[in-house]
């Protein structure tokens, strides 16, 4: 980004749709929502077919937008999808996407997204895959949890760390990033979303970070910490980013100790507002 409402790419494109152009750092209007609205402008008759997609997208991306509530109402009224249904669909699509990777999975993905309009077949498919997804998540979580170090810092933040390369399955679902999220969710369920919880799952040259809503009182912002680390450790090859409360960092494998220690120092320094 060049400034608040100008992006580098603007020079090369005619139209640039991006939630950041509404407000920098605002991620609640997700890509799936924007894409659906755009599709309606381009080809209005498609609306009927895709009007439940924003609700699925918002569920997967954990949106807090006020529009998300409207989208969920639409999905319920028009397609009969409850919040429970949406959650299942989002998890199953995430699971299938892990295995389809760069292939489009046409057919199965369309069925899962209820684009075929055949609700019965859609339900059969979701209900046959979802238990497997749940089982894989629970199994991975159960095996990884004993390896999580969870400490409460003097400033009150619960700081969870795990070497996700050493203590997680490789090349299988859930991915390290997903498992990091499941571990974080486990602690949120235990202590509450408003409790200040920070989870850092690291590998040899990367870390996945998740923060609870309670970290807001500490003005935690991943996008502020990363530039600070880059400045303090210029020879560590640090890159990364994401949202304020969820994202990832890459660094040189040979500088992991320095990077993680410096990250921890930044967390220890945080003070409740």
């Amino acid at each position: 980004f060049v400034s608040e409402n100008r992006a580098l790419v603007d020079e090369y494109v005619d139209v640039h749709v991006n939630p950041h152009l509404v407000k920098r750092g605002y991620y609640e209007l997700t890509a799936g929502m924007l894409a659906t609205e755009l599709a309606r402008f381009i080809y209005p008759p498609v609306e009927e077919k895709i009007k439940h997609l924003p609700a699925i997208a918002g569920t997967g991306d954990r949106s807090n937008a006020p529009e998300f509530e409207q989208y969920k109402r639409i999905a319920k009224q028009m397609k009969g999808l409850t919040e429970e249904d949406l959650k299942k669909i989002a998890e199953v699509v995430d699971h299938e996407a892990y295995f389809w990777k760069f292939m489009d999975g046409k057919g199965i993905i369309e069925e899962l997204l209820l684009l075929s309009g055949n609700l019965k077949r859609h339900r059969l498919l979701v209900d046959s895959i979802y238990p497997e997804v749940e089982e894989k998540q629970e199994k991975a979580l159960r095996a990884s949890l004993p390896h999580v170090k969870s400490v409460v810092l003097p400033n009150g933040i619960r700081f969870n760390t795990i070497d996700i390369e050493l203590f997680a399955p490789k090349f299988s679902y859930p991915s390290p990033g997903k498992l990091g999220g499941l571990i974080h969710d486990h602690f949120k369920e235990k202590y509450g979303e408003n409790s200040p919880i920070l989870t850092l799952a690291y590998g040899p040259d990367f870390a996945v970070i998740r923060a609870s809503d309670g970290m807001g009182e500490y003005n935690f912002d991943l996008n502020m910490i990363i530039p600070k680390l880059q400045e303090l450790l210029p020879a560590a090859g640090i890159e990364g980013g994401g949202h304020s409360f969820a994202g990832s960092i890459k660094f040189f494998e040979g500088m992991r100790k320095e990077v993680l220690e410096e990250f921890a120092k930044q967390v220890v320094k945080l003070r409740k507002a």
Copy 2:
């Protein structure tokens, strides 16, 4: 599997062909044999073209089925393929499959499987690739053997171990799994198939296991050992399986020492029947 002759997938399919449905743990009727028979039912005229495939499949999978002898006779009578030919074809197809990966290799694979019917061209192709395959196998074996630890345990079992990640080529043929098999075969040739030989080739988070026929007297069964390891080490993320005498295990990289030690303990405990 739900029970002896019911599988989870039965609920979703009309027909389920699987050697396990004949007898649990019976792998001698290989996938290639079953697929060929099925093809004959579906489209009888294809028989002439594919009747030698089960002999190739059985050779590659080292089948001991009585039907395999019949299949080899068919391959000899109908297509002129000797056991030596079958072995070469199986090795060359395995080699090509390593490089074609998820691409179908149409053309070359069909030629190698003698589906084109042009025996002369098939022979030229097999004979030009096979020496290269042999050379690669011998070269990798020669370089890896000095790194194999081969000990005879008090119970009489010869136990071979090698760190296949440290002492084998990466991202090239033969793969770690294949090389583990070649090392095992080397010891079988040296001491005899009826001698109790167990080969464990391990990487940072996996192990490939091969047992000689002689391990039968010890009631060795990989599919019995894995659940025991899972029970003893619930936080090691152990998964895996395969046949009774050949298969692989995956585990958390950070728990390798524990897993391999426990595996060795189970082997030490085995007693000759």
Copy 3:
């Protein structure tokens, strides 16, 4: 190769075009040059469209062939491409190829190679990507340089080493091999191409080697050193090669220390002619 002017593949092909068939170890007539000349023989009308390609190829491969000067003149006269343009194109194509991998990138690659004939669009595209390429290279170089060990050996050779796995970005541009080259170029710019400089960038099971022209006085030849290492360390799984002054070695991860130490010994032994 079987001998000076016979290759193994000659048995299977009708025509074999290869700079080595002109003179063994002569790499200055690059693949791009030969392919272009061949294309002209096969389909003369294509000449107009592709006559600037050899100049791009020679720039990317750092050719020293006398023909390269002619090719550059053609590119300048016929398509208006200066040496600066050629360098930019080669770098941008290398960058795009890194991301397109096995996909053909048709469209963008053709535009970058000026095959569309639309010079204005070509320039816009090159000029929009090149600054990004430069920035990525400079950023990676800046972060990696502090981790390079650069020593002058008693025989006068400046020997640079870096663990490129520990101190370089992974799965991103520039690749370890490319970064090794950038580091080498950095030292060449500092001390001069005629100064004897050798750069060895190693990972867990590979090393990338680059030598300056000044190493010629020491009769340095990577293709002589590799067979010597293979002979001295038969159980290290050493493979590799390339040009005399630029190439790579693969070895067993568990034998890295032995291989790198032996390589260093060979370098220490070199004497100025």
